[in-house]
C-alpha cells in the first residue's frame, strides 16, 4: 500500500510500526512526549503507547544515552532522540566509549540494540549548533552503524531496520527535508539498508551523495541532462558500512567520481570514498575524484549558510571540472 507523506511523518509511522511489533521498543528524548519533539517526529506516540514507552527525559544528553545503555542491558530496545545535531556532543563519550564498544568488551555476550536519532544538516536558518553534519565523526568509530535516509520511503523502512538491528545505529535525519513529501510503500521495503542505491543511471560521471543533498543532486543530474551529459546518481544511504562495491561498479563504467555532502570536506566521508575508489578504480579513472562539501570553518551564521552548503551550482562546478579533464 502506497501513501504520500512528509519524510518526518514516515519516520513517525516507522517508529509506530516498530513499537507495535516489539513492546521492548522505548523512545527517550527531550520534549518527545506531549509535544512530539521539536520537529513533531514522535507526535501522538506517547498518547498511544504511554509515558513508560515514550519518555520525556531530563535535559542531559549523556544521561539519555547512558541510561539507554542500562535499559538495553535490561532487555529493552531504546530509541534515543537527540534534539539537534550539535547537541549530541555531551553524549559523545557514552556513545564512543560505551555504546560502540560494549559488544566487543563483553566478547559478544551483550548487544546494545540502541538507535540514536539525530536531525542533522543546515538550511533552516537556525542559530549556532542547530545545523551541523557530524556523521563522519561517528562513522569513524568501530561498533556503530551510521545510516541516513533521503526519501520518505527509506525513512519508513530504515528506521525499522535500525530498531531491529542488534547493533547500535546512528540514524541521521535530513532535517531540512522533513517536510518533503514522498510515496511510502508500507508493503514493499526496497533496497537493503546497508546497500547504496543507484537512483539515476548514467554513463559520463558518477555522483555520490546522501541525506539532505539528494534532492540537490537530482537537480544536478537533470541540469546536466539538459546539456547532454549523462550523470549516474548514487544515494549512499549507509555511511558505515559504506557500500563501496556499488560505487566501484559505477565508476568503472563512468570513469569519473564526484562526492557531495554538507559535512566539511576535510576528512569527510567523501575523502574516504575518493581514496578507496581511487585504489579500486585507478586505471578506470579519467579524472581525479572530486569532493564538494562544507568548509573548515565553524558552521556559519544562517545569513551565510547558502555559501557554506553545497548547492546546485557548486556541485555542477565540480561535475564540469571532472568532465573537462
Amino acid at each position: 500500500m502506497t501513501t504520500t507523506m512528509p519524510l518526518s511523518k514516515a519516520i513517525t509511522a516507522g517508529l509506530r510500526k516498530a513499537m507495535e511489533d516489539d513492546d521492548k521498543v522505548v523512545l527517550i528524548g527531550e520534549d518527545i512526549g506531549k509535544l512530539g519533539g521539536v520537529f513533531r517526529v514522535t507526535e501522538g506516540l506517547q498518547k498511544d503507547f504511554g509515558e513508560q514507552r515514550v519518555i520525556d527525559a531530563p535535559l542531559a544528553e549523556s544521561g539519555i544515552v547512558g541510561t539507554s545503555i542500562g535499559m538495553a542491558i535490561r532487555g529493552y530496545r531504546p530509541v534515543v532522540e537527540i534534539q539537534f545535531d550539535a547537541f549530541i556532543f555531551p553524549a559523545y563519550d557514552q556513545i564512543v566509549t560505551q555504546v560502540a564498544k560494549l559488544h566487543a568488551r563483553t566478547h559478544g555476550h551483550e548487544s546494545i540494540p540502541m538507535v540514536i536519532r539525530v536531525p542533522y544538516g543546515g538550511g533552516i536558518g537556525s542559530p549556532e549548533h542547530h545545523s551541523e553534519s557530524p556523521e563522519a565523526v561517528f562513522a569513524h568509530h568501530a561498533g556503530l552503524r551510521v545510516i541516513s535516509p533521503s526519501t520518505a520511503h527509506d525513512a519508513y523502512w530504515m528506521i525499522q531496520d535500525a530498531i531491529r538491528s542488534d547493533d547500535p545505529v546512528m540514524f541521521f535525519e535530513p532535517k531540512r527535508r522533513y517536510w518533503m513529501r514522498g510515496d511510502v510503500d508500507t508493503a514493499a521495503r526496497g533496497a537493503d539498508t546497508h546497500a547504496a542505491q543507484v537512483v539515476r543511471e548514467g554513463t559520463d560521471l558518477t555522483l555520490v551523495s546522501y541525506g539532505p543533498l539528494m534532492p540537490t543532486a537530482l537537480d544536478v543530474v537533470n541540469a546536466k541532462a539538459e546539456e547532454g551529459a549523462s550523470v549516474e546518481l548514487i544515494d549512499l544511504r549507509s555511511l558505515s558500512p559504506i557500500d563501496f562495491d556499488t560505487i566501484e561498479a559505477s565508476v568503472k563504467r563512468t570513469g569519473r567520481l564526484v562526492v557531495a555532502h554538507e559535512a566539511p570536506v576535510f576528512l569527510g566521508l567523501s575523502s574516504e570514498i575518493a581514496a578507496r575508489i581511487t585504489e579500486r578504480c585507478f586505471f578506470h579513472l579519467e579524472a581525479p575524484a572530486l569532493r564538494v562539501g562544507g568548509f573548515h570553518t565553524p558552521y556559519p551564521p544562517s545569513k551565510l549558510e547558502e555559501h557554506y552548503l553545497p548547492d546546485l551550482d557548486r556541485i555542477l562546478d565540480a561535475v564540469d571540472r571532472s568532465l573537462a579533464f
Partner: protein
C-alpha cells in the same frame, strides 16, 4: 569577605556526618540504632564467612600485584583496604540485583561468583573484560570514570518498567547498584545518574567508596562537602558508613537495598574507607601522602578488626589457619591460570565488533590475515 554568620552557617552545613559503625577498630561491637536488626540476622558462622571472603580477596589482590611485578600482568588495580566496603555490599545483595562496577571491584566480583581468574584477562591484555554480564548480574569493569553510574540508573529504570520493584516478592523485586568512587563523584555522568534516578524514582543504590584518594588527589580536591550529602539535591538521600567495618557495610547496604527494593526510591551510601595500596601498580603513593596517614588507617584495617571480634566470639586459631591455607591454594591457582594464558589469535580483533556482519570489518580481517599468511608461505618456501 565572609561574615561570621555565614561562615558559621557554612561550617554547620559542612560538618562531618554521623558515620554508622558496628565494630570498632579494636573489634568491639557497638550498637547502631535501626541497623542493628540487620546485623542480628548474622551469626558467628556468617561473620566468619565474611572474614573468609575478605582474606581471600585480599590474597587475590596480593597475587594481582605480584603477577604485575613479575611481568605477567600489564597493570593491576589493588583493592587493599576496601575489602569490607566491597564484601559487605556484595553479601547484602540478592541474585536478581545487578551490579555495575568500577575496575577495582574485585571483592564485589567475588561475592557475585566471578572467578578471580576472570579478572586477570583485562589486566594481562588478553581481553577488555569478556565475561557474560548477565550470568552473574555483574557487569564487566568500566574504566571511564563514572560512566557505569548511568548504566546502573538506566537498568534500574528498566526494572521499574518491568514492574520488578515494590511487589513485596523478595525473589522478584530487584535493584541496580552503581559503584563509584570519590574521584568519580566529580564526573557529570554521576550527577546525571542522580538526576535521572531522582526524577524517575529508579530502584538504584549509589554506592560510593570514598577511599580518600583519586590517584594523587585527596577527596578535598573533589568536594568540600561530605559525599554522603551529594545526592540530597537530586532527591537521593545519603548515609555514611564505616567502610572498614564489614558488619556495618552489610547492615547499611541491606537496609538500603530493602528500602529501594520496596519501591521507596534511590539511595546513596558513602562507604568511608581507605585505599591502602597504590591507585594501580603504575602509581607511587609515597609522592603524595604521608606514612603517618597510611599507618593511621592501617590501624583501622577491616580484616584485623573482624578477626579481633571473631576471636572474642570463639573462632579458633585453627579455623583462621584454614582460611589462610585456602588462600594459599587460591593464589597458586590464580598464578597457574595466569601464566598458562595464551595470547588471543589476531583474528580475535575483528570478532564481536558488531553483532551482524559488517563489510569493512570483513574486508580488513581478510586482508590482514592474508598478509600474515604471506609470511607463512615465505617461510615454507625458504
Amino acid at each position: 569577605m565572609t561574615s561570621d554568620l555565614s561562615a558559621g552557617a557554612r561550617a554547620k552545613r559542612q560538618a562531618g556526618p554521623h558515620m554508622i559503625q558496628m565494630l570498632t577498630p579494636e573489634g568491639d561491637r557497638v550498637s547502631s540504632g535501626e541497623y542493628d536488626v540487620f546485623a542480628a540476622e548474622l551469626d558467628t558462622k556468617d561473620l566468619f564467612g565474611f572474614y573468609r571472603d575478605m582474606v581471600l580477596v585480599r590474597r587475590v589482590d596480593a597475587e594481582g600485584n605480584a603477577l604485575q611485578r613479575q611481568g605477567q600482568l600489564g597493570l593491576w588495580a589493588p583493592l587493599l583496604g576496601q575489602e569490607a566496603a566491597q564484601i559487605g555490599l556484595g553479601r547484602a545483595l540478592r541474585s536478581q540485583d545487578f551490579v555495575f562496577p568500577t575496575y577495582r571491584e574485585h571483592g564485589v566480583a567475588w561475592t557475585r561468583g566471578i572467578d578471580p581468574t576472570e579478572l586477570l584477562g583485562m589486566f594481562r591484555g588478553q581481553s577488555h573484560g569478556g565475561w557474560d554480564p548477565q550470568a552473574n548480574r555483574f557487569h564487566t569493569y568500566t574504566i571511564v570514570i563514572g560512566s557505569q553510574v548511568l548504566h546502573a540508573t538506566g537498568y534500574a529504570m528498566g526494572i521499574q518498567m518491568d514492574g520488578d520493584v515494590g511487589t513485596g516478592d523478595v525473589d522478584r523485586d530487584a535493584i541496580a547498584v552503581a559503584c563509584f568512587g570519590d574521584g568519580a563523584s566529580s564526573q557529570g555522568d554521576v550527577s546525571e545518574g542522580l538526576t535521572f534516578a531522582g526524577a524517575f524514582n529508579a530502584p538504584v543504590l549509589f554506592y560510593c567508596q570514598n577511599n580518600q584518594w583519586a590517584i594523587s588527589e585527596p577527596t578535598s580536591v573533589q568536594t568540600p562537602v561530605p559525599l554522603n550529602q551529594r545526592g540530597r539535591g537530586f532527591g537521593v538521600p545519603g548515609i555514611r558508613v564505616d567502610g572498614n567495618d564489614v558488619l556495618a557495610t552489610y547492615a547499611v547496604a541491606r537496609a538500603s537495598a530493602d528500602s529501594i527494593r520496596a519501591g521507596n526510591g534511590p539511595l546513596l551510601i558513602e562507604a568511608y574507607t581507605y585505599r591502602m595500596g597504590a591507585h594501580t601498580t603504575a602509581d607511587d603513593p609515597s609522592k603524595y601522602r604521608s606514612d603517618a596517614e597510611t599507618e593511621a588507617w592501617a590501624a583501622k584495617d577491616p580484616i584485623l578488626r573482624l578477626r579481633r571480634f571473631l576471636e572474642k566470639e570463639g573462632i579458633t586459631s585453627d579455623e583462621f589457619a584454614s582460611v589462610d591455607a585456602e588462600a594459599d591454594q587460591l593464589a597458586a591457582r590464580i598464578r597457574k591460570t595466569c601464566v598458562d594464558m595464551t595470547p588471543p589469535s589476531p583474528e580475535a580483533m575483528w570478532e564481536n565488533v558488531y553483532s551482524e556482519p559488517h563489510a569493512l570489518v570483513d574486508e580488513e580481517r581478510e586482508t590482514y590475515l592474508a598478509y600474515l599468511d604471506s609470511f607463512a608461505d615465505a617461510e615454507a618456501n625458504a
